[in-house]
């Protein structure tokens, strides 16, 4: 594991319609890590990813990725899962791939071929014909086919079956380059616990903890029970 800093967030504040979504977020993330971003629904996980990726603007504070603070430059160093809502339901998957190749100069067609085969994605299908699991596999394959430093996977395991989850986890292990960092958001952690370097927990509108998975396990606690213990006595 190299420990060069890849992402640094300082004094980040974000409001939407006068409501505080994130407050005083500070974060430092190195290259080559696999990180879970945990938190309840509505905790601000997706918002944080959207801020990092430059989609959500008008925040206060600094976000620096691979030495760049400007949103446009940051965008060339990261790939975030896109729920594909911008495509027509009748779009053929082939056309979506063509679109990705055109729009992203870092799109690696060879890698996509491998991922597509590994995930058994049929490109002649239409978007509307995909099951939830198949759609998520396509989203991950498209995201991972870009060659960049940081991958942001927004709840890739939400509502999909165990076999598909396993397939996605395996594709992460197989195709992740040594220096790239992956942040996976989720609200539970069991299926990815074994592949994690770090855990970041968003709670009370900020980064509540950022801890290595080994640290948690060394205290003879599973990541799951550690996470749950933070919510004990609430509600």
């Amino acid at each position: 594991m190299t420990n060069k800093e890849l992402l640094k967030i300082e004094h980040l504040d974000y409001r939407k319609n006068r409501r505080v979504i994130l407050h005083e977020v500070n974060l430092s993330i190195g290259t080559g890590h696999i990180i879970a971003l945990l938190g309840e629904n509505g905790a601000g996980k997706t918002t944080l990813m959207r801020i990092i990726s430059g989609v959500a603007k008008n925040y206060h504070g600094t976000v620096c990725l691979a030495g760049h603070e400007e949103e446009e430059k940051r965008k060339t160093h990261l790939a975030m899962t896109d729920p594909l809502k911008g495509f027509l339901k009748s779009s053929q998957l082939n056309d979506i791939v063509v679109f990705y190749k055109k729009v992203y100069s870092d799109f690696d067609s060879e890698r996509f071929e491998e991922l597509k085969d590994f995930m058994s994605i049929d490109l002649s299908m239409k978007l509307s014909q995909l099951s939830k699991g198949m759609r998520e596999k396509l989203i991950v394959a498209l995201t991972f086919s870009r060659q960049c430093d940081l991958y942001l996977l927004d709840e890739p395991f939400n509502g999909i079956d165990a076999m598909t989850r396993k397939k996605i986890v395996n594709s992460i292990l197989r195709w992740k380059s040594d220096d790239s960092t992956i942040i996976i958001s989720d609200h539970f952690v069991t299926e990815v616990a074994a592949i994690l370097d770090d855990v970041i927990i968003i709670k009370d509108r900020t980064v509540f903890t950022h801890v290595s998975a080994d640290e948690i396990l060394k205290k003879h606690q599973s990541i799951e029970s550690y996470y749950e213990s933070l919510y004990e006595g609430e509600e």
Partner: protein
Amino acid sequence: MKFQDNMPIYQQIEKYLYRQIALGYFKPGDKIPSVRQLAVDLTVNINTVQHALMRLNERKILYVKRGQGNFVTEDTELLAQTRKELIDDQIKQFTSNMLALRLSPQQTLEALRKYYEEKNEKGGD
């Protein structure tokens, strides 16, 4: 491989490989699978596998051939020691369990002898 959730995973992989070697699944001088292969097989992070291999390297159970990967030591004495450690570990667990059942060392040996006798009579393996 199923991981326990109360011990760092690199330590569990270290133990697992240590066991594979002590049991002779990997022979002296054998190349062990690549880091990525192990990561995929065990469904763990590459960093975690590397951490475990590094520790086995420090203990001289494995050694690195540059550009070729990790190999099992050819130091048979060290491997015999590795095996003995595993055996001692098991005995330690067993004897402390027997002690908890209030069996003296004498009685434990006697119980063990009886167990083997009965097993042999049944024609078990």
